[in-house]
Each structure stands twice: as C-alpha cells, then as structure tokens.
Symmetry: C2
Subunit: 334 residues, 2 copies
C-alpha cells in the first residue's frame, strides 16, 4: 500500500527463515480485512509502500531448528498475532500481549515468515482443496474477533445483545453470541444482503437506522432500557457513541473494531450507569482451539462472510470493492 486507495501487487524478495523459532508458511488463502480499509483511507502516501495483510491459512514449507510442534506439510491456521504461548501473558490466555509477540503485516502474499511458530500455528486436518477453507480462514481473525467481543462482554443465555456493524466481524459477532446462548440479538446495520446473513447467523432483529434514531429504535425494542451487552464492531467514534446510547444500565460495551480515535466520552457517560467498557485485539490462541471443532464438524459456517474470491493480482480490486461495499469480504487465493 503506497497511500490512500493505492494498492499495488509487486514482486518482493522471498520470505525466509530468520530465527530458529520461525516457520515458513506457503499461503493457501488470505483475505482483505475491514481494518485494512482504515489505512486504505488515511495512511500517508509513501514512496516505499508497506506490505499488507494479517489473515492466512496455509502449508508449512520449512521450519527452524527449534520448531517442534509443526512440521513441513502441515496445514496450519495463523491468528493475526504471533506469540510464544509460554510467557506469563500467554499463560493467562492473552496471547496478543505475549512478551515475545507481535502482529502479522505481510500476509497478502504467497508466503509468510511466522515467528514463534510453535506458539502461533494451529494445525488443522484438512487438505488444500477442502471446502472448509473459507471458514477455517475466519479463525485467523474475523471469527475469533467476533467471539472475543461476545466473550469479553459476558454474553450468555441471560444477556440481550446489540451488535453494531454489519461487516464480517459484526456478522460473526452475531454468530458468536448465538453460539454462546444469547436469545435476543439486535443487529445494527443497513446493508440488506449483510443483515440477511446476520439473521441467518442468529440475529433476532435488524435495526437499519443509525445515530439517535437507531438508539431510539433499540430502546423501543428493549422496554426502554437497551441491551445488557453491546458488541461494537466498527471502530469509528460514532459507533462508540451509538454503543453508549443502546447499552443498558450495568451493561457492557465490548469494542473489537480498532478505535480510530484517542479521546472519547468515557467519563460521566460511563460512570453514572455503571457501564463497563472492554474489548481489544482478539487473537487469543485458546479461541482457535475452542472454535476449530465447530468449524471442522460443520456446526458453524463462518466462511459465508466471503462473497468474492480473487487471485493476488485481484487484491487492489478487492480493496476497492470492499471499500465501495460491493463486497462484504474478499477471499484471496494466491
């Protein structure tokens, strides 16, 4: 990415092993993320450009001398963060805060160097032609992110839920909330093909209005009080403000859309009604281990969020189509 709207496909030096804990993974599927659209809008232009992409599944091609958990030929899922899975934060399940970790940023490519391969990669018993590939790819980011929103918000059978945002993360937050037992799930979004998929994933109500009008509708639908939990899957300030408007007293707002702001109304607005604000990056390894069986056994089909497939050459068009809301989420087959 060279600047706003300027995505180019280029030949770069091959990824190689650099540390004995590295693995080299050939990318079988990658994709474009809603969060990639933030720099697509606003990253300053540069002459050098930046590699892009943080979601991928693939096949291990080569491993460093200290890698023991995966071996060449393994089919693997990589979350969007890497981690050793042994430090004190990983031990608490917070792999995004690994003391030796970081985030991927070169996955829209033919191959990726994976640091801390033993901790990071999760193997899956599938072949490169599996029909499950799209759903497995969601374990790299959008499904575990939606799940993180629902888990940190404390979603369960007794909590009503509002999901803000009908992007892939929002729709999979609906799926995750449903999977955790929520019986009332209000989806705020205004793109009918997307909200229809949200209904298929378990939403009970769709609220197309935004801002004050949307807040009023949610309150009307919930006896005037709002919902116990709000899963904010956008990242822009108006989405957070909308969350404040629809959350019930004593409730929880969980944000998984990367905030595009630093300051926010988070003083008296949260305090008086005992609102909890939580969330963050959701690339926690335990989530993949928890969700993988449901994907493999077909109990959930999160891969339905992909509605277009391109080759690497099609990535610039994929960004454009997602930005124009012509595509929900673009799968890339290198």
């Amino acid at each position: 990415m060279y600047g706003p709207g300027d995505v180019r496909v280029e030949t770069v030096p091959d990824a190689t092993l650099q540390q004995p804990t590295d693995a080299l993974v050939r990318v079988v599927r990658t994709c474009v993320c809603g969060s990639d659209l933030h720099p697509y809008h606003s990253r300053p232009a540069s002459a050098e450009g930046s590699p892009m992409g943080h979601e991928f599944i693939g096949v291990v091609e080569e491993t460093g001398a200290e890698v023991g958990n995966v071996r060449p030929g393994d089919f693997v899922i990589a979350p969007f963060a890497f981690f050793d899975n042994t430090c004190e934060f990983c031990g608490e399940g917070l792999t995004t805060s690994c003391l030796h970790g970081g985030f991927f940023s070169t996955a829209q490519a033919e191959a990726v160097r994976v640091p801390q391969a033993d901790g990071t990669l999760v193997t899956a018993p599938v072949g490169e032609d599996s029909a499950l590939l799209p759903s497995l790819l969601t374990l790299s980011d959008v499904l575990i992110t939606g799940h993180h929103a629902a888990v940190t918000a404390g979603v369960g059978p007794r909590t009503s839920v509002t999901v803000i945002g009908d992007g892939a993360v929002g729709l999979l937050a609906v799926l995750a909330a449903k999977r955790l037992g929520a019986e009332r799930i209000l989806l705020m979004g205004r793109h009918k093909t997307r909200t229809d998929l949200g209904l298929e994933f378990g939403a009970t109500d769709v609220v197309a209005e935004r801002g004050d009008e949307g807040i009023a509708t949610v309150r009307d639908l919930t006896g005037g009080h709002g919902t116990h939990t709000v899963l904010e899957c956008v990242g822009h300030l108006p989405a957070y403000e909308q969350a404040l408007g629809v959350v019930r007293a004593g409730g929880v707002i969980s944000r998984v859309g990367v905030p595009q702001y630093d300051e926010a109304p988070a003083g008296r607005d949260l305090f008086g009604r005992n609102i909890t604000l939580t969330g963050g990056p959701g690339a926690q390894r335990p989530y993949i281990e928890e969700l993988l069986p449901d994907v493999l056994e077909g109990r959930i089909e999160p891969g339905k969020v992909f509605d277009r497939t391109v080759g690497l050459d099609g990535v610039p068009e994929g960004y454009r189509a997602m930005d124009a809301r012509e595509a929900l989420k673009v799968l890339v087959q290198p």
Copy 2:
C-alpha cells in the same frame, strides 16, 4: 452550599413525610464526603444555595402508610441512593439504577425524608451510643464504594491491586481488596498519616510519587507490567491517566471517584492491551447486607477513616479542614 468555599448552617423547614412509601429518619451521624469537595471547589455561586450531604445513619421517627420493613425506633443505615429494591435493576443488584430511585442530597441535617424506605433502609441492632457508629456510617458510602471498586475490578487472591488515592474511599478500597483476598496491594498516596492507615488496612506497598514517576515506581514493583486491577478512587483526569499507566495488559481499571471530566483517553490506550474500564456509583444494597456482619462482629474497622468530629455548626469548618487535607474525613454529630 452557596458557592465555592461557601457553606452555611441554616434553619430550614422540617423534613416531613410526602409519600406513603417515605420514612422520616432522625440523623444520628452524618459526614462530609470527598465528593462534596468537588462542588466546594467549582459549583457556581447561587443566591438560593443547595442542601448537602448523602451519608447518614439514624433512627426512624415516622413511616408512611405503605412502609412495612422498618418502624419507628429502628436504627437504620441509609446508602447514598434510595431505591425500591423490587424493580428489574434492583433485582439484578444494581440499586443505583432503580427505576424509582435517586440520590440523597440533604443528609447534613437533623432529619432526612427517605423515599422508598422499604427498599432503602437497612436496620442494624445497635443503640445510639454504640461504639460502632463510625464504622456503620461507612456503610452509607465510603466502604461500599471502596468495595464496589474491588468487586467490579474482580479483585481476588490471584489479582494484584493498585489503589489510586489515599482519601477515605481509597483507604477503604484497600480494606475491601484485602478482605477479598488480594495479597499484593499498592497504595498510591502521599499523605503519610493516611497511607499509614492504608498499611494498617492491608496495603503492602505505598507509592508516594505521582504521574510518570509514580507509574514507573509501580511498574518497577511489579516486574515491569503493572497490576491486574487498579481502583481509581479520586475522579480527576490525572488519576485516570495514572490508572492507564499502572494497569497490566488484560487488566481492569475500576473508577469509583466521580469523574470530573467527560472526555478521556479511552480509545487506542485501552484497546491495544485489552484493558477493561468499569465502576460507577456503589450504593448497591447487597453490599451493605454482605458487609454489615463484618462491621457488627468487629472483623473490620472502617470507621477509623474518621479523624475529626463536629456538630452541625462545625460543618463549614469540616469542609475547610478536609479541603486543606487537615482532616481525612469529618464525622458530624447533629
């Protein structure tokens, strides 16, 4: 209170029953709250003035026709909010969001009209000369507020704690954290007589520095990472910013000092490290029921936060002394 620094003692019409759900309580002890100092600094001057005070214990003098849980002669504790204890929010334990509730604001007086008396008042088997009165009075606000901070932050045997603020709430947040099993409690405060009481209540470390220096000290004391929970018992923005600096990745900041700000750094600062922000008003009736036996049986002595006693005529001097940090918390004996 007629304006900044302007507190007067005046004769006003007697409190009377207005609703059949009211009780009239003669005040045996009330006090000045750290939160009373916020308007003492900044409330615009007015010709009418405002009554003050929200903490009191006393004796029921008269009850409305629909009051059944308390009767004249009962010694009662009133939390700083009133509530019916039957609505759906009260049913969830969030009595500060009662659909028929509100907050007291006339307790620095000889008598108070208590709305929703059946829900609000908790009886205690003591006489007006009990040595426990100071500790019982903390159940009206400062102890349940400190407890709310610790509970909402999830304090327990496995969580390290930083308490920000050495006022009465901060010191009782220390006591509450200790009572909930915390083994490592860092108290940030710089008034030695207060932090000494904090050590008596269970603090394991005192950090006298503030701002970046204080943050660095807490990090040094915790292996570089900060503590799992931070109980912010001040309410000014620098205290919140200090909380951000000392909270561990994946940790919780609970605020019980009333925020004196609307906007705060609550975007990327919270998100990237999965920090949870929680807290609010802590006048939840279940807390009083939980803590009362410990007070009655002497297992905790929260009343030690009172270091000065005045009559009603001494209330203006009480405000001044607390504001000047000459007194920690001023007990008022009408």
